[in-house]
């Protein structure tokens, strides 16, 4: 089709003011707080944060995998442009329509490749199920499609893999199977929730490379949820940094490493192990003191202020900072970005 370059800029997913809260007793724990972002085809967006930052909850909510109940409150919008071209709000879809979106328009892979596959079914039948749920296909055809996917993901001995059971495969292989399952219906958006965290380093690199290849081939958008900024540098075009349930910085991948706007982001960057020439011992990791506040007991003002090296009394602990543009395409949630960042006024 012509004009595909223009279409690229048009987002396929737009999240606006997403809120997820859990009632525990008479308190409400706000796990995700006014998160907004959008993603276009062929784009790779990284959502970065420590555990407890709300990044995984955001991913699950986009997938419609968090159910509203008396204890679970979700608001905001998750607008998805589906394959048919219609725009719908994932949060408001009835169950049946939601099932058509899952696996078909949006697919998801998870952190736990060891336990994300059903132990009682063969790999082939689990991938074939994903195909058959959205395509009218015979069992033989969907198994053939499963084989094709495994070949495409350069799984060695794909025939053998098809008839194996999850416990017979290594963690890296299982994650490949999960990816095959996710790609089976050619989704337009893939949410990868820490897909490499449980794997060892060489396998991590292989999986990242694989996802990049698939994206280049299919033009699929990827939301990459991770706590590892090293991975961000390898795959992401844009990065969303989350802290205590809110977005604290939104920045292009290049600028993220050049000039982070938020002290939290800068601290995260410093804690990255550098395998550089100076061979700094591991003890030199600049770990951030303290830990993410629990969503039930948030500090006043800037949520990061108790841990921040640039904390200024009566400013940082007074008002909650807004997300401000500090440079073109770069937003930051910090009262002091002008003082501490490398931004021309």
């Amino acid at each position: 089709m012509t004009g595909s370059t223009e279409r690229r800029s048009e987002p396929i997913l737009a999240v606006e003011e997403l809120e997820v809260g859990f009632s525990v007793g008479d308190r409400t724990i706000r796990a995700v707080n006014g998160v907004s972002f959008s993603i276009a085809p062929s784009e790779a967006l990284a959502i970065v944060g420590e555990s407890g930052s709300g990044k995984s909850t955001t991913g699950l909510a986009v997938m419609g995998l968090i159910q509203r109940t008396k204890q679970v409150h979700i608001s905001g919008q998750v607008r998805l442009k589906s394959k048919t071209g219609r725009v719908c709000d994932v949060l408001e879809l009835p169950a049946r329509a939601l099932r058509q979106v899952r696996g078909n328009d949006i697919a998801m892979i998870f952190q736990e490749p060891m336990s994300s596959l059903n132990p009682v079914y063969s790999i082939g039948s689990q991938i074939a199920e994903a195909v058959a749920l959205h395509r009218r296909m015979s069992r033989a055809d969907s198994l053939a499609r499963a084989l094709e996917l495994l070949e495409q993901l350069s799984v060695p001995n794909p025939d053998k893999c098809l008839v194996s059971y999850p416990h017979q495969l290594s963690g890296g292989m299982r994650q490949r199977v999960m990816i095959a399952m996710a790609l089976s219906c050619e989704p337009r958006l893939l949410i990868a929730d820490e897909p490499t965290t449980a794997l060892d380093v060489t396998v991590q690199a292989q999986i990242i490379e694989l996802l990049k290849q698939v994206q280049a081939q299919t033009g699929m958008a990827i939301i990459f949820i991770t706590h590892n900024l090293g991975i961000v540098s390898e795959i992401a075009h844009r990065t969303l940094v989350m802290y205590a349930g809110e977005v604290v910085e939104s920045v292009s991948a290049a600028e993220l490493f050049e000039r982070p706007g938020m002290p939290y982001t800068a601290a995260l960057l410093q804690s990255l192990p550098r395998i550089a020439a100076d061979r700094a011992p591991a003890t030199k990791l600049a770990a951030i003191p303290g830990s993410v506040p629990s969503a039930g007991a948030l500090p006043t003002g800037c949520r990061f202020h108790p841990r921040c090296a640039h904390f200024l009394a009566k400013t940082c602990d007074a008002a909650r900072p807004m997300l401000e543009a500090c440079a073109p395409g770069h937003w930051v949630r910090c009262h002091r970005w002008r003082d501490i960042g490398d931004f021309a006024a």
Partner: protein, 313 residues
Amino acid sequence: MMLRLVGQRLLYAIPTVFVLTALLFFSVTTILGSPASMMLGEDASPQAIAELNAQYGFDRPALEQYVDWLGRAMHADFGRSFTTREPVASAIAAALPVTLELAVLSIALAALAAVTLNSLPTARRVIRPLVVGANLVGIAMPNFVIGIALIFAFSVSLRWLPSTGWVPWSQGLSTHVRHLVMPVLTLSAYYFGAFSLVYRAELREAYRRFYIRTARAKGASETRVAFKHALPNAVLPVITFAGLSMGQLIGGAVVTETVFSMPGMGRLFVGAIAGRDFPVMLAIGMLVVFGVVIMNLITDLLYRLVNPQIRLG
């Protein structure tokens, strides 16, 4: 590998059967007194008892008697009943099919109902209170109380079903089934409660696993998640339990058969107990031991066969 496993299990099972039957034999023969005194009554003269003991070989050493008894038992010869003088083997041959049918139907019905009803995703809201209620009835109400309540409702009040008795297949299928409805319901009520308890605990565990989330992410419906993804991972303990229950079928059927006057193993056993009919007691006791050991073996093997993690190593 499977064959080696079967061999290994049999190696344990066979001595177990011998030890238990010996235990049964010695305790019954020594504690109950000599069979002859039992046959002749307590007032019989010592001389008459001694004569009869000699005639039946009851005066021999206990071990010799046990070996002799076991040897005959291997050839399905359990001697004759003291009370009816009928061969024990033929009494058992007549009673066993009745119990087998009752137990198989009840256990199958209970397992099917427990797994299906507890799996239904809507059950959480609509059916769950009913299922929980039925579970509690099955657990708290003794079998005979359920049976009598059913008889009161369906036979005495509504007059829909015959209250007691048993009619063989040959006298018409519908009469046979009509006599079987209440006994099967009674016996399955207990198993339903027990199976549900086990299955619900397993199901809760299965729903915590990440493959459930994967299935939902694929776009599977809640019904599909429940029956295709959670059920197979939660059902094994129910299969095990059902298998073990089959091994105990005589124990399970004792009360139900008594309530509904069914001519099965349970009632044969109760009759033997009441009449101190020592050969019948021993024969059924041995069958119980045998059934338990065999079903334990089969269940164990089945468990390995169903679970790919064990099957394929």
